[in-house]
Symmetry: C2
Subunit: 311 residues, 2 copies
Amino acid sequence: MSGSPEFGRVVVFGVGLIGGSFALALKAAGQAGEIVGFGRTLAALKRAADLGVIDRIGVNAGQEVADADLVLLATPVGGVSAILARIAPYLSDDIVITDGGSTKGDIVAAAREHLGENVARFVPAHPIAGAENSGVTAARADLFRGKRLVLTPLPENPALAVEKVRSAWAWCGADICELTPDRHDRVFAAVSHLPHLLAFALVSELAERENSDEFFGFAASGFRDFTRIAASHPEMWRDVCLSNRDAIADELDRYAARLSKLRSAIERGDGAALETLFGVARAARRGWAGNQESGDRGQETEKYAARSAGK
Amino acid sequence: MSGSPEFGRVVVFGVGLIGGSFALALKAAGQAGEIVGFGRTLAALKRAADLGVIDRIGVNAGQEVADADLVLLATPVGGVSAILARIAPYLSDDIVITDGGSTKGDIVAAAREHLGENVARFVPAHPIAGAENSGVTAARADLFRGKRLVLTPLPENPALAVEKVRSAWAWCGADICELTPDRHDRVFAAVSHLPHLLAFALVSELAERENSDEFFGFAASGFRDFTRIAASHPEMWRDVCLSNRDAIADELDRYAARLSKLRSAIERGDGAALETLFGVARAARRGWAGNQESGDRGQETEKYAARSAGK
């Protein structure tokens, strides 16, 4: 039945970049009957409605969820617990819930706490579609197209629930792979959370110097690319740090040890050690960029997903 | 006399990205009578000659320099001392020497040591035109066009020598400003050398993990931009580290202190401190990007140059 959307009512909590783009993508694919938005400020929700991102502004979350087919949790990670507690009593047996958070361990813990057995309806997800811009005005239907989406199903999830959520993200055009929530948090602490912290640290340190203008005045293209992610959303990254605390602290320790090794080599004038370390980095970075360009990313993803699932 | 080039013979030591682009730019501007290249391998010099980047491969450095108007030192910083020692006895009163090194303090010290009074002929320079690619095949006539060039004149330089060197870089299309050598090294340790080290450190640390493929497999656009400079030239950056050792060690210490502050905030779950730090970084990064786009970089440069010169 081509005219009939896969999901009747879709409820989106947090209509920002991620939530708004999810709504737009499902609508563009003709797979959402109606989209109801909840958020922290009425102004933002009105903007979302004016832009046609949502069909209605939600009033009673319990009521809306009770008749919904799909719920997306897309607020900053810190706000998810309260929403889960609020909607827990209203979940039907057919509903599926997913999210767009950058960390998975703590959201899974919150879901187990608040949803009880109904945690089986929650299939966590992490769309890898970061952007420095945030808010509903930055939302677009193609944000997830061709981008990685990491699904982290729970042992409690029935296969049908996983398939429904997978299908929703597939309608958004995402390239879907799977990891366990724990493995997800370890991997992203290293390749995403840590680099963000390092960029925030560099820029904030320079900004707080007395003569910061002089320093910024001579920063060039290397600095520009290195620090692009330092313009990311402070509140979102605060929540990422708090919710993936242990893995991030571990990554920071490894990194500090590496910097200290580098500093010793510089201190003792050990050119050979420096050249070796830089050479390892250059080769790895070039190899990575080559893989990205040659488009075998999808295969690698499947490989890692299979490996990870086998653990 | 429009047909007559400003410089008769130009001798380039190190015909790679910087040296090759300098040669191509001066020729394109019609301001070099002939360009003679020296380098470490005959193969690279032959390639430079085949590409038309240089007119001749030099044989006797003393002889070539004796009749030259302009010398560019564009080898990795570590090779400069030996070249200065070799050409020192052959410098005429009219010759000017400049360089393209990323650090200035140690090259000035080497020049004072080897050139004696003739250090007056050496006007150090640093073109801010980094690229991950290196070698003569990456050279192009417009590499310096619209890019910052920091001139770091010495107290010994007569005004005419500074003007000649300034003119050579101006023919390359560079946007020229001035700093003292010492100030240059402090500023670039913070906004260039440190970010390179941080990117090298991150990528090398990940590359040396047993399961590095899995990590790289999930790295996305934030990682891509953050680590672009980790593909930079290992030998060049080895020399930068060794030659700007003190300023870089100082920057690493400041940075390590900032990371440790960040780690404590994460450890104790201090969301407010994290959000503040990230907010400072985001505002500074956005302000910087805004300045870059609005094109008031040139004015800022002049302002900083004037300030720095007044110190």
